[in-house]
Subunit: 122 residues, 2 copies
């Protein structure tokens, strides 16, 4: 585990009105600071090794209404107003399937229309 | 990151009726298998390096009603009926505080009455 990974907090993102869990991401201190400053969710991408703002490319921003922290302070819970869909696959939530692959989530956009032919970047 | 940590999935636990996010834990394959077999949430404790069943000592079990998996298959969402409280501090949810320390959660048990003088073990 790198120094960077040790510093990261898990960040659960939940719709502030419906309670639907939308995604899990990670935050470093800067991501949390920028989230608090701007009111828009920022994360640290472990796969890309960089800071990103949710919706910076897709427009599918997360407007943060509340943030809670857990008992051992390694996870935050963001309650947000989700613009569009949280998942790069086009679903409102990243949790759109059961373990056996049945689709239970709501598709709200077509990824190729949002991200173009180059595919996902968030 | 050890082999074991690479194998782990994040597990978000949510009340199946209210949508309240209760805790974040981790699961290895055996924890997931036992959860499916028994209908009770099992996890891998990264700090203690062992498998555990939620409520094995406190009685505060999580009866699993549904499991969803996210787009990149590294996180599961457990929708549960929570017996008692999810948090070892006595709160119903581990997310009982704002970032500036204000208590917003509901305390549902006294830890010393449940875990005894030796303190937390889950």
């Amino acid at each position: 585990m790198t120094h960077k990974e040790k510093e990261l907090k898990h960040a659960i993102v939940q719709d502030y009105e419906t309670g639907e869990v939308l995604m899990l991401a990670h935050m470093d201190e800067e991501a949390l600071r920028l989230t608090l400053e701007t009111g828009k969710a920022h994360f640290w991408s472990r796969s890309r090794g960089k800071l990103w703002r949710k919706g910076e490319e897709s427009g599918h921003e997360q407007l943060v209404k509340d943030i809670l922290i857990d008992c051992d302070e390694d996870t935050v819970l963001l309650k947000v107003k989700q613009i569009g869909g949280a998942c790069h696959t086009g679903y409102r939530s990243c949790f759109y399937r059961t373990l056996d692959g049945k689709i239970v989530g709501e598709k709200v956009f077509e990824p190729e229309e949002v991200y173009g032919a180059k595919g996902r970047s968030e």
